[in-house]
């Protein structure tokens, strides 16, 4: 599908409207109708996404006795659950767990991106034997049930004496994030035009500089998207963390799963919801900051003809 510039540049003379009104106001009405439709759909999406989250927040503000109350606004409202979530009295360390999750998450994201971008470049832009085979291996890592990794990895890392370190949490999370990172970036890089890179090399850039200065910025939406996905996947990771972390390196998911009531058998829903709220808010803020980067449009100008 190619578009020549002449067609784009040429405007069309306005045709006379059918019912006497000018064509531009009919188009304006269509546009207004479209944006109302868009607005309604946007509102539906926001409600669908936030309704259960609202319920989580409401439950977080309820006193423990009122856990199963179903009123839409928590009438006896309390901050006790937040205090409980943060308290270290029962052996929970939510703040420390948040810190651990941040350390692990940031490390995983940076390393997975670094490895992923290089591997994606090789797969998408370089020519070498055995490429489908290697791409298959990378994809194959997403095919093995994660639950079956726990015991062998536990034994391996215990034998290596790495219990209680951060690398036992970071390394498995990287390998969970890698296949998606590599494939997403590869599919984007594959679409990038060749002529830009070649032009830069003719001008004297090395392949590497051409890649970093020209191609990577063009693929920025994909890079930031995979960064967010890798970070959140690492943040969400539970199985490996539950088996390989110790008290000191516990991540957020394990810490929340370990919340107890003051009695055995008691399920402290309100405290868990409070902890969940605490843990989600920084992520949302992070996304609000980064979401402009996701949509950095492809306006570099070097593409269009």
């Amino acid at each position: 599908m190619s578009v020549t510039s002449t067609e784009v540049a040429a405007g069309t003379t306005p045709k006379p409207a059918v019912d006497g009104r000018s064509r531009s106001s009919s188009r304006a009405r269509k546009k207004a109708g479209a944006s109302i439709r868009t607005g309604i759909q946007a509102i539906i999406i926001v409600i669908w996404c936030l309704a259960p989250f609202y319920w989580m927040i409401v439950t977080a503000f309820r006193p423990v006795d009122y856990t199963y109350d179903t009123s839409l606004i928590p009438i006896p409202a309390t901050l006790d659950n937040f205090a409980t979530a943060f308290s270290t009295q029962l052996g929970n360390h939510l703040l420390r767990a948040i810190g651990n999750s941040l350390i692990v998450g940031v490390s995983v994201t940076i390393i997975a991106l670094a490895f992923g971008v290089t591997a994606a470049y090789a797969l998408a832009r370089l020519e070498f034997a055995g490429k489908p085979f290697l791409a298959g291996i990378i994809l194959g890592a997403s095919m093995f049930p994660a639950v079956a990794l726990l015991t062998p990895l536990f034994q391996l890392f215990t034998n290596l004496g790495w219990t209680g370190t951060y690398q036992v949490l970071i390394i498995p999370s990287i390998s969970f994030a890698l296949p998606l990172t590599v494939y997403t970036l590869a599919s984007f890089l594959r679409e990038m035009p060749w002529d830009l890179e070649e032009a830069a090399r003719v001008d004297g850039c090395t392949r590497f500089t051409a890649f970093v200065r020209i191609i990577l910025p063009l693929a920025a939406p994909a890079v930031f998207t995979t960064a967010i996905l890798a970070f959140i996947a690492s943040w969400n990771e539970y199985l490996i963390a539950s088996v390989l972390s110790t008290d000191a390196t516990q991540t957020v998911t394990v810490a929340i799963a370990g919340f107890t009531g003051s009695q055995p058998h008691q399920e402290p829903y309100t405290a868990i919801m409070a902890a969940g709220t605490i843990v989600t808010v920084p992520l949302v803020i992070l996304v609000l900051i980064l979401q402009r980067k996701i949509v950095a449009g492809l306006t570099a100008g070097g593409v269009k003809g």
């Binding site: 784009v8 868009t38 989250f53 093995f144 990895l153």
Partner: protein
């Protein structure tokens, strides 16, 4: 990308075209090797080692109880008996009675595929819709984007407990529906509960990947087609869909692979469900590890082979191939 001009210029060298090309090839191969090696290495250790260990273990018998001492002793070589245990429902000499893990094998396969197909279809459609809305320009767009990400951002364990709480018999779901549905104790309500929770949680994943794909499409193409008289629907099917196909295929492929390994959500929400109505293959693996891990290793291997087959079909026939030869692409022949 639509605009590909003349094939790239090659840098000329005095040694002649043919040796020059060969040298470039070797250089490329070596560079590629170094670029891919770190990824392959990590994956080999974290995934490859357990996979090989599982295959080796799957050919060992589980420890049996010595009747005189009452202690467990190492089982010996098992041949394929662990595999026939699952595939042919053989519990030793008798067919597997209900209430054992192996009796749930085919049910687990059904559940896994059912959940995968339904959730992936729903998430793709909804994710596409959300991405299209997020892509448009209007006030408050940032709010929509942030709220779309909220379901994905909440830790899975918390989400599962939240939906368990919502679907409790005295929970808010029954209140809103004015019904008394026993969500976690009946087969189909339990399955629906899991599907709802999973779709809510994972649609943002698809929406985000599709959005990234939408971002790459320049507005001029839409402008031009509008000038040509294309309607919105035609624009969607003729322009949008083909151009986001690579991103869409990757998103669907990975979502499918993840759905086939679903564990956290059904485990916490229903525990495998009434009977084995919501037992997925991963849940079955965990249950089996508790009872005899060599049989569990065989099950893990079977799951891996199953997922491999699905991925193979995807890549081969549905075009999720991201590694087509670059030469053809350089010549502008390949999409």
């Amino acid at each position: 990308m639509a605009v590909v001009d003349a094939p790239p210029e090659k840098i000329k060298s005095p040694r002649g075209k043919k040796t020059d090309k060969a040298a470039a090839r070797t250089h490329e191969r070596r560079a590629a090797l170094w670029l891919i090696a770190p990824s392959i290495l990590i994956l080999a250790v974290v995934i490859g080692y357990p996979l090989v260990a599982a295959v080796i273990q799957s050919f060992q018998k589980d420890a049996g109880l010595n009747p005189t001492t009452g202690l467990f002793e190492q089982g010996g070589f098992a041949g394929f008996s662990n595999y026939t245990h699952w595939l042919l429902q053989q519990c030793g000499p008798v067919p597997c009675p209900p209430g054992t893990n192996c009796a749930s094998f085919w049910a687990a396969i059904f559940n896994t595929f059912f959940f995968t197909i339904v959730t992936v279809v729903l998430e793709t459609v909804l994710g596409l819709w959300m991405a299209l809305i997020m892509n448009r320009a209007y006030r408050g767009r940032a709010l929509v984007r942030a709220s779309v990400l909220v379901p994905w951002a909440i830790p899975t364990a918390v989400t599962a407990k939240l939906w368990f709480f919502i679907f409790a018999t005295a929970g808010i779901a029954n209140v809103i529906l004015h019904a008394q549905i026993l969500w976690t104790s009946q087969a189909w309500p339990a399955r629906i509960a899991i599907i709802i929770a999973d779709v809510w949680k994972t649609t943002p994943f698809m929406a985000l990947l599709i959005l990234a794909g939408l971002q790459i499409i320049p507005d001029e193409i839409y402008e031009a087609s509008r000038v040509d008289g294309a309607s919105t629907v035609q624009q969607f099917f003729r322009i949008t869909l083909p151009l986001i196909k690579p991103a869409l295929m990757v998103a669907i492929l990975f979502r499918t692979l993840d759905a086939l390994r679903m564990y956290d959500l059904p485990a916490i929400l229903t525990g495998g469900g009434p009977g084995n109505a919501t037992t997925t293959l991963s849940i079955l693996v965990v249950d089996q590890i508790r009872q005899g891990f060599n049989a569990a290793a065989a099950l893990s291997t079977l799951t891996f082979l199953l997922i491999f087959a699905v991925a193979f079909i995807f890549v081969r026939f549905l075009g999720a191939n991201v590694v087509a030869t670059t030469e053809a692409q350089q010549k502008g022949e390949l999409r």
